[in-house]
């Protein structure tokens, strides 16, 4: 491992023992507890966690919008709490959905306003803004008030206005919230292109695990104010080197199914027509053989067998034991 890092290798954002406590005395709530991590330049890092995990507090602490109780946040060489104005030269954010622009102003007016707010003369960056309008499919909407745009377009307008500040680090809090599938996919593609072509550093906070899995190099998983995992997406999935096997069974009675649930990690089971279907997560081939052996012993026929890949949501659940998310996911699957 390298003993020293060059300036370019230093994290562009570093968080050291960040703690935030809201309130006083018995009513106080520790929203973030001793969180530490560094964000590398030109990366897309995901911040994942359930409601109340502390993601928004961490992001706002990095932006200087929330004063930490303890700990230090640095953007570049600047301590955020001590030197917020210098910090603001390097960061920009789209927070909490689409409402970070002035809806009564046009897209262009918003871009110019936020450009000036950041100290840039918009007339000098006209070409740059035209590129951004085109990159986010807003070129025909620049003179439309944000209020008249669709939900997805509003979100893109917010991102373009944030980019008008020429940030080194862009924070996105739930960027795909409320977007339809097509708009979400499109936005993900545009963000990925932006990072790869411009070397921007992006930090994304999201519940949408598909977004995190697809666009992020690395994910920091938070639960109850603490970091429970901080790895690349691929590494996290490898850590849970599992396979899900879906079996359609004939002749399985309830005692047999109950024993299977006790002995194996049954992810899902249901009854369709006269067939029972169970989905089991197995760690290796030996475990799969053991499962099949149990079924043979119980005189249960396997009429179909199918393997499915572990998805990131299961990894997340394993890490955080997020019951609320699980209930929501199950109800959506059964709908």
């Amino acid at each position: 491992m390298s003993e020293s890092r060059t300036a370019d290798e230093d994290p562009i954002v570093s968080v050291e023992e960040l703690t935030k406590e809201y309130g006083d005395g018995v009513d106080s709530v520790v929203a973030v507890d001793g969180v530490s991590f560094g964000i590398d330049r030109s990366s897309i890092t995901g911040l994942l966690g359930h409601n109340g995990a502390g993601k928004t507090t961490v992001i706002k602490s990095m932006l200087g919008l929330v004063r930490p109780t303890e700990g230090v946040v640095r953007v570049g060489e600047h301590r955020v709490d001590d030197d917020p104005k210098r910090t603001f030269e390097h960061v920009s954010a789209v927070l909490e959905g689409a409402r970070t622009t002035y809806w009564r102003l046009t897209v262009r007016e918003n871009v110019h306003f936020f450009s000036r707010l950041a100290g840039y003369d918009p007339t000098e960056y006209r070409a740059r803004y035209e590129e951004l309008y085109e990159a986010f499919d807003l070129e025909n909407k620049v003179d439309t008030t944000v209020n008249e745009l669709s939900r997805g377009m509003k979100q893109k307008a917010g991102i373009v206005a944030a980019l008008a500040r020429q940030p080194d680090v862009l924070f996105l809090d739930e960027p795909t919230l409320g977007l339809d599938v097509e708009s979400s996919l499109e936005l993900r593609r545009q963000l990925t292109t932006l990072v790869s072509e411009e070397g921007l550093t992006v930090i994304v906070s999201s519940h949408d695990m598909e977004v995190i899995e697809e666009i992020c190099n690395r994910v920091i998983v938070m639960s109850d104010g603490e970091v429970v995992a901080d790895e690349s997406v691929d590494t996290l999935i490898e850590l849970f080197d599992r396979q899900n096997v879906a079996l359609s069974l004939s002749g399985a009675d309830e005692p047999t199914l109950s024993r299977l649930r006790d002995e194996f990690d049954v992810v899902d089971d249901s009854t369709r027509d006269s067939y029972d279907r169970i989905e089991v997560s197995v760690e290796n081939t030996a475990q799969l053989h053991s499962l099949l052996g149990r079924l043979v012993d119980a005189d249960v026929s396997v009429t179909d067998i199918e393997t499915t890949e572990v998805d990131f949501s299961e990894v997340y659940l394993e890490l955080t034991d997020d019951e609320e998310w699980n209930r929501t996911a199950v109800s959506q699957n059964n709908a």
């Binding site: 935030k20 809201y22 929203a31 507090t57 706002k60 932006l63 200087g64 919008l65 929330v66 004063r67 104005k85 210098r86 603001f88 030269e89 960061v91 920009s92 954010a93 927070l95 909490e96 959905g97 409402r99 970070t100 622009t101 002035y102 809806w103 009564r104 936020f114 707010l117 950041a118 100290g119 008030t145």
Partner: protein, 239 residues
């Protein structure tokens, strides 16, 4: 303002209609005695318009920005949020002065009174008077960021301005140290007695400047304190 002209016009019309109600009601009740003090009433309305317009706009500005989601964006300004707040205040003062002059023209066309238009004296006195109110606007604007829905308190304060403008400072000179009172007294004399700022005693002008600048500065510092509290509580963007 130009994108939503009806909205802009409506605010001016509302104040003018209120003046008409006062005019006709006053004449019906007071008759000739009311007409004798009409000039002072018009000047008072002129200042009330500017004051309430500036106070309302600034006090609501921060709450509005928080509800739109843009307050945090404004906070993340490399020049500092304080400077942004000052620019907002200056813009609101300018708009309030324009609004006040619009209403003044309408009032003069409606009545047959004559007022003196020593423009420099009027503008300086008006701006300094409104500055003291801006301080109050900063305080309540900052409070709204922390405590959110305090609209009812906003409204009560506006009635207070009417009382301050009518305050009998000649009988009780100590009242000159309150917001608006000195400005109201001097503006009445400028517009009805053809006085100029430089014809007043220096102490009168000093009090005008001190209260204008002092209340504005105090309010600004209180506003910054409220913003710090909002950051501590993590509520700047919430509404």
């Amino acid at each position: 303002m130009y994108r939503y002209p009806i909205n802009t016009l409506a605010s001016i019309v509302t104040i003018y209609v209120f003046f008409l109600l006062t005019l006709f009601g006053g004449r019906a009740v007071g008759g000739g005695a009311f007409d004798d003090s009409l000039a002072s009433i018009v000047v008072g309305f002129f200042l009330v318009t500017a004051s309430i317009s500036a106070y309302n706009s600034l006090a609501n500005a921060f709450a509005a920005e928080a509800s739109w989601g843009t307050l945090e964006q404004l906070y993340m300004c490399r020049s500092g949020f304080g400077l942004v707040a000052v620019f907002i205040a200056v813009a609101e003062v300018l708009i309030s002065v324009l609004t006040a002059f619009s209403v003044l023209m309408a009032m003069l066309l409606t009545t047959d009174i004559q007022l003196q238009f020593n423009l420099v004296s009027i503008l300086v006195t008006l701006v300094l008077s409104v500055s003291s109110v801006i301080g109050v606007g900063f305080v309540f604007g900052g409070a709204a960021v922390v405590y959110k829905r305090i609209g009812n308190v906003f409204n009560i304060i506006q009635f207070g301005f009417i009382g301050l403008i009518a305050a009998p400072v000649e009988s009780y000179p100590a009242l000159k140290l309150l917001p608006l009172t000195q400005g109201s007294y001097l503006l009445r004399r400028i517009m009805t007695e053809d006085a100029h700022l430089w014809t007043f005693a220096p102490s009168e002008v000093v009090v005008l400047v001190a209260t204008g600048v002092g209340y504005a500065l105090l309010g600004y510092l209180v506003m910054l304190r409220f913003v710090r509290i909002a950051r501590n509580r993590g509520v700047m963007g919430h509404y």
